[in-house]
Assembly symmetry: C2
Amino acid sequence: MPYYIGDVIKDEKRLVARTPEKFRETGVDVRLEVRAEEIDKDKKTVRLSDGTIAPYDILVLGTGTTAVVPKVPGVELEGVFILKTLPDAIRIKAYLREKRCRKAIIVGAGFIGLEMCEALRTLEIDTQVIDLVSRPAMRWDPEFSNTILEELTRQKVTFLPNTGMTSIVEGKDHRLRLKTNNGEMEADMILIAIGVRPNAKLAVDAGLQIGKSGAIQVDFSQRTSGEGIYAVGDCCEVYHRVSRKWVHIPLGDIANKQGRVAGLNIGGGSMIFPGVVGAQSFKIFNLGAAAAGIDETEAKNSGYHPVSTVIWGNAIARSMPGEKRLGIKLVADRATGMLLGAQAVGTTGAVERINTLSCALWNGMGLDEIAYLDFAYSPPFSPAWDPIHIAAQELIRKL
Amino acid sequence: MPYYIGDVIKDEKRLVARTPEKFRETGVDVRLEVRAEEIDKDKKTVRLSDGTIAPYDILVLGTGTTAVVPKVPGVELEGVFILKTLPDAIRIKAYLREKRCRKAIIVGAGFIGLEMCEALRTLEIDTQVIDLVSRPAMRWDPEFSNTILEELTRQKVTFLPNTGMTSIVEGKDHRLRLKTNNGEMEADMILIAIGVRPNAKLAVDAGLQIGKSGAIQVDFSQRTSGEGIYAVGDCCEVYHRVSRKWVHIPLGDIANKQGRVAGLNIGGGSMIFPGVVGAQSFKIFNLGAAAAGIDETEAKNSGYHPVSTVIWGNAIARSMPGEKRLGIKLVADRATGMLLGAQAVGTTGAVERINTLSCALWNGMGLDEIAYLDFAYSPPFSPAWDPIHIAAQELIRKL
């Protein structure tokens, strides 16, 4: 009988889609509240935290990631949170409700940090974001980071750039006091959202190959270097079709796909995971921000010859009512005219454009054809010349 | 000096983006209110309605289409309209305002007819749509036509299928009385929206090759069969990348692109028009409806071996608020697994999915890769498994 082993705690049991009993009916032995401590590749066994030894023919690692917490004094204080799992979210929600938070500081202006701004502002909590870097959403072009910053300001979220935390102590006006290289500030709650790292210790200890990214190395069939051992999801690498490198992109949709590919192969089917183009998005109040492919730096590092442009157009026809300003950035290879990357920011239509451009990146399309792609044009949905066309034509002139 | 010749009437002059004077400054002689009557291919001249003869080296035909009006008695009565040009729209608007319309009948349940329903209902005018065929938006799958019909009903628009007009006479309770094979009905205004046909007479008379569709035949550079004569826009054919046939798809975005290709070639550049995949969309009240590629019948006629599926999914993550039900139909070739066509209907996300699938059709992608395309997933914008993935996986099982 297949096992599922996880150190899922009691409170989380309801989060498992089906109960262990239900799983058992379908022939899967689900064991919760037990941790896999060590893999013995030669004996094909896993030593569990309850002292038992579980044998395997096929082993699937889906160990995910852990939120990074900087080793500074005070991160263990009440009111300091990370947000990685659903129990984390439940803890934060309970704290906000019970402690009557008036002010929050978010450390890190990435996806999680920025998305949490909206949740906190909805509760009318004063919100401040700090980051080591100079602007929010660093992955995006400075012009788009600026658009995001404007939206933060409109929503009364303050952003403090070039700021790193040095310690957290008890506060005076508020529960906590955050000390940084850029002054001190108080808040009732501090959320640390500075990224995640793959949980690869089991794999490292077992002597499995680890990629340059620190995540578990896999092949197109999700097989690790260990016989009969697969890895899927945030703990392993994924092939990037544009950079042609194996990278670590811990995102839920990729994890879903890898799980399916591994399952099909384990079940006797044959399938390869075709890879990703690095598509991602997040919502920040009224703005959508999305990106796919690689930026100029990644392009140079991969051996491409990048050239880029940023244009501002309308997501829908100019004659239609509503806010429609949409920014698109394209990066292409000067040598071939091939699209390498795309970014978009706007109140409407940003993610949709990036999904279309993801398909273009997937197929290695050149700007010449992207500039004339056939879209389902209708004024409520797009201008006759879509911002994608305009951006591609603009960039062709720079090749 | 290049000419622009058009039988644009005085009222329309303001519709020309720049005045004739402004054009002249940039070296273009714009002559309005004059019609091109005849082309002499050998002498390379055009006879105009003002009796003059205009010589040319290069001639571009952009004669567009004309709305089809059935030859039945009464179509010339006041209150009977077509909607093809902006002056048509202005005439309809003035009539509705001045005559206090309470009831309207739309003949034809295609794009124009259905889009006009919303405009008329916004003015609180009783609106009825009749069509010769059995359902609105015939191009879409019966399941989606049904969704559109439900929306029409919700918006208090009645649809009468299998109904053709036989004549229009003066009415009793309302200004007009429409007689059909399916009974008689009265209204204050009748809009005839049963399609368009290409204005190819000039080209036919000049002996230019005309395509099977009745539109002017062109090549990838927008050249007709006549030396130095180009054609662009709704009057000419376009290459369909999926059916691999030259077809007539009179849509504004295609016209824009063809004009640009012709202009580049005429101006000494070299460029080919890469064709279309038949992408189109329209909005019907709260619904977006979009399609690209070909349906089962067109696929069979082109020599493919079609197999199809219709699925209903969510445009955004299930946990997000708001109406999100989205239907997607995919048609693929059983022999190769290649995507041949796609349709979508929903309150949100339909057009966007079709734009992405247009890019997939453009590249001749197979279902195996479409089922794993990398999108910019985030719950406010899509589920982790997008309806596109689900539809593709569903259809793979039918191959």
